[in-house]
Amino acid sequence: MSQINIEREFRKTEAEPLLPIEKKLIGWSLGIGLVLLVALGIVNHLFPASI
């Protein structure tokens, strides 16, 4: 069973700058996530869990 040393592999790997599509993915994910979270927070406040 041959094994790889990850650290050695990282040193050999060339840097990959963030592509515009990755920036979009990060930005949209965060944006939609935060907006939905606020919306759900409001719903949660208006309709509290009933016991």
Binding site: Q3, L25, S29, L30, G33, L34, L40, G41
Partner: protein, 496 residues
């Protein structure tokens, strides 16, 4: 999905193991076995007790009184007889599963024998009164002056620690039993069984249960949209990881550990060793979280039990560790409240952790599809296009089992004549006994997979640094805030 801390470069497999796939996946097997146990338990409704011989363990000061049968009608079997019967039954069922997984049945049977007996012996040891007794009445009952007050479910930690010792001190033995070290299979079976048990719990307080389900939506948003984006950014920008490593790592830390890392690895066509190593890391950190978070929750959240349950579901990665962490948290918090004179109904904290986790799991396939679409259309344009079929392929099938047992259990408890509905809780309690056994096997297996030395030799330090910073600097605390936001003030019903 079992994880290992090594990999073979020459293995001709995709990240998702499609080429080496056995007759049936662990996912489907867990669903089938879980439903099989559920159906056996339901025979109790027709007054046919098919699972009453299962072993249960009580807190003990005299070991001869530690074991018993779940049903008094099988008391003649004795505690040790029940343990042997439980072992033989599981050996038969899981050996059949091993055949379906194309494992060597003899190797599996031997390995499972070792796994079962060592894990259960750890569980029995953890139920020793000086470790597990909680209330002053318990101390008096067992005639002891002190206890660590870990509760009986704290014994899971004993199984975990024994597994860790085997992995790190006796690695050859860990290798010898690896055929039966399958935490994902065990926990998925347990989750399917848990659906029925949770249904019985929820039937008593339907409006609260539906409120919990709705709040599970918030967990999905957090895990997929907020956690993932932040961790991916940190891995790429601050630590300079390439995309092949950063995407499975972000999924592993933010979504559901092992399953998500492997699904993401497959979606972006990463080499098999990438998600496998990320999965190893996920398991190791899950161990640390299980050892830490339930006690933090007991200390700071004992008066917000459901916040604690939701926090376990959100913060602890891997299904096994999260739900087992929920079980320990429930045990610790219920005991602490009981000592203060407040007796909450059991099942709600664990149920909350499981609901959150299952909700997160449901969307792994969709998220893998989204990533696959972006990678094939915008990043690696030469690769094959991601197909919608992959959503189904990545969908965790055991979730279907959880939903089926939950819905059927709820129907039986609420929509059947009173004489039938009254028998459902007892039937689910018997099934729940096996859920506990599968939890024990999960804890032990997670420990056995955590060979810290081997991971370090593989140069996993930088990967671990991202994991550590993201998990302890962000994921755990944001999870706590979100849990507080949506679950604070929501208390479990009081035990009648």
């Amino acid at each position: 999905m079992a994880t290992t801390t090594t990999w073979n470069e020459a293995t001709p497999a995709r990240a998702d193991n499609v080429e080496i796939a056995p007759r049936i996946s662990e996912d489907w097997l867990s669903l089938i076995i879980g439903l099989f146990i559920f159906v056996l338990a339901l025979a109790g409704i027709a007054n046919v007790d098919l699972l009453g011989w299962l072993v249960t363990t009580s807190v003990w000061s005299d070991v001869s009184k530690a074991l018993g049968t779940v049903s008094k009608s099988y008391a003649w079997l004795g505690g040790f007889g029940a343990l042997v019967a439980t072992y033989l039954a599981l050996l038969a069922v899981l050996s059949a599963a091993a055949v379906a997984l194309k494992s060597d049945i003899k190797k599996f049977a031997l390995a499972f024998t070792a796994v079962f007996w060592i894990a259960y012996a750890s569980w029995i040891a953890g139920n020793f009164a000086n470790f597990a007794a909680v209330t002053p009445a318990d101390l008096q009952k067992f005639g002891i002056g002190w206890s660590l007050k870990l509760t009986n479910e704290g014994a899971y930690i004993f199984a975990l620690i024994v597994g860790l010792v085997i992995a790190n001190v006796f690695p050859r033995f860990a290798e010898a039993i690896k055929d039966a070290v399958r935490p994902e299979l065990y926990i998925k079976i347990a989750i399917v069984i848990l659906g029925g048990f949770f249904a019985v719990t929820a039937a008593g307080k339907l409006s609260l249960a539906s409120s919990l389900l709705l709040r599970g939506v918030a967990a999905i948003i957090e895990a997929y949209l907020i956690y993932w984006a932040v961790v991916y950014f940190v891995a790429r920008k601050w630590f300079g990881f390439n995309r092949e490593w950063a995407a499975p790592l972000a999924s592993g830390i933010s979504i559901c550990g092992v399953s998500a890392a492997i699904a993401t690895g497959g979606a972006i066509r990463a080499r098999p060793m990438v998600p496998v190593l990320v999965s190893s890391l996920v398991v190791v950190f899950a161990v640390v979280e299980v050892l830490l978070l339930p006690f933090l929750a007991q200390t700071f959240l004992s008066h917000e039990p459901l916040v604690a349950g939701a926090w376990m579901g959100l913060a602890i990665k891997t299904d096994g560790a999260a739900i087992a962490g929920g079980a320990i948290t429930e045990s610790l918090i219920l005991a602490q409240n009981a000592a203060e004179g407040i007796n909450y109904q059991p099942g709600w904290i664990l149920g909350t952790a499981a609901t959150i986790k299952v909700f997160i799991d449901i969307f792994i396939g969709i998220w893998a599809f989204v990533l696959g679409y972006i990678w094939t259309n915008h990043i690696n344009r030469t690769s094959d296009k991601a197909s919608a079929w992959e959503i189904w392929q990545r969908f965790p099938k055991f979730v279907i089992g959880f939903l089926v047992t939950f819905v059927v259990g709820l129907y039986l408890a609420l929509a059947t004549p009173a004489n039938i509905a009254a028998k459902v809780p007892a039937a689910m309690t018997e099934a729940n006994t096996l859920r506990v056994v599968f939890f024990i096997l999960t804890f032990f297996s997670i420990g056995v997979l955590s060979n810290f030395k081997k991971l370090w030799q593989e140069g996993i330090g930088r990967l671990a640094a991202v994991y550590f910073i993201s998990l302890f600097g962000f994921v755990i605390w944001v999870g706590l805030v979100i849990s507080w936001l949506f679950f604070s003030g929501v208390k479990p019903p009081l035990a009648s």
